[in-house]
């Protein structure tokens, strides 16, 4: 008897559902030729049975084109993804590959998108996309953003309302010396699932700042993967979340330092309450050839309930010694001393708690450039406290 002792590659178990979309479902969405190869691969792929998110079933509604408008702003090129496909603007950009939260969902975005945009920014550009789940319970968006060399872009994306499913895939290409600020806001309580995959290619001297703001959906997977492919690329991600009730969120942020002298920073601050469950993953990867890299990760979670759960999974993988990499995490409850201090000044407990939490989110809320989004976040926050 020969026993094979082979290392098993980590595979996420998958499941299939008979109600899944078929290749033909993409037809009524237009641009079928473009969608078809993705759809064919899509049907071959199962849904991930995520261990921590506990995804075991999925309810899919009929696909419909997006009703209403979701896009505004000014940029050299700014089109809905459908228009961009029709006008042949996508070209080489769609070939940028990445795994995202899971191939099933990145493929779904490309085969069955009913929203999303393509934007090329030269000089200055502002883009605002707002997806309303109340009127479009299924939003599947596919987007590409190209920030040309030396340009500055501010992108704000808000997904709000009560719907069924939101699946999103976005690729960012940030060229030499360019600057990107991206505000990614999810306020979708009672929406059953949101899966958001974002990939960033960051070139020489480019600066990327991302704010991932998460205020609910029943199940959330948020995935941001930054590839710093040329020297002096710089990335800063700030994640802010507040999860309540039975909500589950699996947040994964990944810094891949593929070039020397790159700088990365992951920062996560959040609150969990009731029976919510948040997983915060921060991965830092520094390959052999990348010297003089600085990369750090910091996470703080405030847990307000004895039934809530927080998992922190920070990982560092370093193959060059001319680097500085660190991570730190802390998880705890409200600081009693702080509460006491505020209450000694006359505040009641609820007020004090509210102030502390608002204080945590304040710098991020203040940074949001679109007024209506800022208001929505403030409202979303206070309705959760």
């Amino acid at each position: 008897m020969i026993m094979e002792m082979v290392m098993v590659k980590h595979v996420t178990p998958e499941f299939y559902t008979p109600s899944d979309y078929k290749v033909d479902d993409a037809k009524k969405l237009g641009n079928f030729k473009w969608r078809k190869p993705f759809a064919q691969e899509y049907i071959e792929t199962g849904f991930p049975k995520w261990k921590r998110l506990k995804l075991s079933q999925i309810s899919l509604e009929k696909l419909k084109p997006y009703e209403g408008t979701f896009l505004s702003g000014d940029a050299k090129i700014l089109k809905t993804f459908d228009e961009a496909v029709e006008k042949n603007l996508i070209g080489e950009f769609s070939s940028v590959e990445f795994r995202g939260a899971h191939p099933k969902f990145t493929l779904m975005s490309q085969a069955f998108f009913n929203a999303g945009f393509f934007s090329e920014i030269k000089g200055h550009g502002n883009v605002f996309a707002h997806y309303d789940l109340d009127s479009n319970p299924t939003v599947i968006d596919n987007s590409i953003v190209v920030v040309r060399s030396g340009s500055e872009a501010t992108i704000t994306r808000e997904v709000s309302g009560k719907g069924n499913l939101r699946v999103s895939t976005t690729k960012f290409i940030v060229e030499e010396g360019a600057k990107l600020k991206f505000f990614n806001v999810l306020i979708a309580p009672d929406t059953s699932l949101s899966v958001d995959s974002n990939s960033y290619i960051v070139k020489r001297g480019a600066k990327v700042e991302v704010y991932d703001i998460i205020l609910g959906a029943e199940r959330i997977a948020s995935n941001h993967e930054f590839k710093l492919i040329e020297p002096e690329a710089k990335v800063k991600l700030t994640s802010a979340y507040f999860e309540i009730a039975q909500e589950r969120a699996d947040l994964e942020y990944k810094l891949i330092h593929n070039a020397p002298k790159t700088i990365g920073q992951l920062k996560g601050n959040g609150v969990v309450d009731d029976s919510a469950y948040v997983v915060f993953r921060g991965n830092i990867d520094i390959p052999h050839e990348s010297y003089d890299v600085r990369s750090e990760e910091e996470g703080y979670t405030l847990n307000l309930s004895s039934k809530a759960r927080v998992d922190a999974i920070p990982s560092l993988d370093v193959k060059n010694n001319m680097v500085n990499a660190r991570h730190a995490a802390s998880i705890g409850k409200l600081d009693e001393e702080k509460l006491y201090y505020m209450m000694s000044r006359g505040l009641d407990k609820r007020m004090a708690v509210r102030l502390i939490i608002e204080g945590m989110f304040r710098p991020i809320v203040d940074a949001i450039p679109v007024k209506s989004v800022k208001r929505d976040v403030e409202y979303g926050l206070s309705s959760r406290i």
């Binding site: 026993m3 002792m5 370093v318 010694n321 680097v323 991570h327 730190a328």
Partner: protein
């Protein structure tokens, strides 16, 4: 002690027609050890699990490990030792440099018979029996104290825990058994060293330690000189039960020769107000997976894990710790340090779990990794699962190198570059190494100096 050797002589028959790893082999092992039926059953059950379980999907790559390779060493008539001539020069060289006495060298190299510690051992034994402490090799314990052993053996780590636990359950051999009665404080550290009952060095030894209410024990496993073995798998197991108010300290130096896979399982169940302290140093083996675990299941239980890993050329050492808080007011502290140099790969893998019922938990996990050059690799993955909010959890990790400025500073006071590096590395390891028994700490430091060609003693 010599009982075992005799047993071997008695049942020294050769298996002719049973190639492979199967039920028959396991039955033979059991028979050769003159075991009670329940132990045989446990072995067979373990075998079943082993054959069914998938490999672990994390840690080191074990794809070039062949289970058939170890079969010859499992058989009762196995040639357990090589001859001195077969021992690699590199190992002999290290013995020389470390100044290990001639007689002991052969024991570490697995070619000598029992190092002549019989006299020392007899004295300790007398002292221990006055206190009511049982300290025996594991095989004898199975025969002489079946009730106690049956109650605890592979209960902390059941055979179906993971694939290598199952393998261990099927083929375990040798190891130590310690039973400390209530409120007894064992006055000297007990060393597994005395328990090398069979010629050669245990590949699948099982250590079972029970520290009763209010008792206190320090147990030392291994030694800092490299241990050479002909077989390339070491899969031992340590099970420790620390009862109410008891204190247990378990110190290990793992220094298997660099041809070895070291896949070990160590777990302690820690009761009310009890304390478990793991101090581990890993420097040897080709590949190691080792994550000592503390299950804190009594109110006020405490665990401390201190870990130092040194991965050099050709080594992949995946070490870490596992702390499970099941009861309120429990606390834990993990201090893990690693050094990777000359192409070595050191990885910290940790799990900290705070269950729903475990309120008022305090825990801190700290990992630091020092990389000596750009050929080496270092990683950390500390997983934290916190299931209630009355917990105070802190974690910090950093990976970095020795600063040029530090070297310059030390050299400006006259030290050579090699000495400066060795001193900085030793300083980095000091908080953990200090916790090791003195003679091991000294040897650990000497090994570091050797690696840097430094003359620091």
């Amino acid at each position: 002690m010599s009982k075992n050797t005799k047993t071997f002589e008695k049942v020294n028959y050769i298996v002719r027609s049973a190639p492979g790893f199967n039920k028959r082999l396991i039955e033979e092992i059991s028979l050769s050890k003159d075991e009670p039926d329940w132990m045989k059953e446990l072995r067979l059950k373990s075998l079943e699990f082993f054959l069914k379980r998938p490999n672990p999907n994390f840690g080191v790559d074990i794809s070039d490990f062949d289970i058939n390779g170890i079969i010859p060493y499992l058989k009762p008539d196995a040639k357990k030792s090589a001859s001195w001539d077969e021992v690699p020069e590199e190992i002999k060289d290290t013995f020389e440099k470390l100044g290990i006495p001639e007689a002991e060298r052969k024991v570490f190299a697995g070619v000598g018979a029992q190092y002549d510690s019989e006299v020392v051992y007899q004295n300790i034994k007398k002292q221990l029996s006055k206190l009511g402490v049982i300290f025996l090799d594991m095989e004898s314990a199975v025969r002489e104290y079946p009730e106690i052993v049956k109650k605890y053996f592979m209960h902390a780590v059941p055979p179906n825990d993971h694939k290598f636990a199952a393998l261990h359950g099927a083929v375990w051999s040798g190891g130590s058994f310690v039973y400390v009665p209530e409120n007894v404080e064992v006055p000297m550290p007990l060393q597994a060293y005395f328990m090398m009952a069979s010629p050669g060095i245990g590949q699948f030894e099982h250590t079972l330690i029970i520290v009763n209410k209010g008792a206190k024990l320090h147990f030392i496993e291994g030694c800092s000189a490299p241990k050479y073995s002909v077989s390339n798998l070491h899969s031992g197991m340590v099970e420790i039960y620390v009862e109410e108010g008891a204190t247990m300290r378990y110190s290990t130096i793992q220094n298997w020769s660099k041809n070895t896979y070291n896949l070990n399982t160590k777990r302690a169940i820690v009761g009310k107000d009890a304390t478990m302290i793991w101090v581990s140093g890993s420097i040897g083996s080709a590949k190691t997976m080792l994550y000592p675990a503390s299950i804190l299941n009594g109110k006020g239980a405490r665990a401390e894990h201190m870990n130092i890993t040194y991965a050099g050329n050709g080594q992949h050492l995946d070490t870490g710790s596992k702390v499970i808080h099941l009861a309120p007011y429990t606390s834990s502290k993990v201090d893990a340090r690693s050094i990777s140099s000359d192409g070595g790969y050191a990885f910290y893998r940790g799990l900290l779990r705070v269950s729903k019922l475990a309120h008022h938990v305090k825990s801190s996990v700290e990992c630091s990794a020092l990389m000596m050059d750009d050929k080496s690799t270092s990683g950390t993955l500390p997983i934290m699962e916190i299931m209630n909010n009355e917990a105070d959890i802190g974690h910090e990790a950093r990976i970095g190198r020795i600063k040029e400025e530090q070297i310059y500073y030390l050299m400006s006071r006259g030290l050579s570059e090699d000495d400066a590096k060795a001193l900085i590395v030793r300083g980095f390891m000091a908080p953990v190494v200090k916790q090791l028994p003195l003679e091991y700490a000294i040897e650990f430091n000497r090994l570091v100096s050797m690696n840097f060609k430094s003359n620091l003693g």
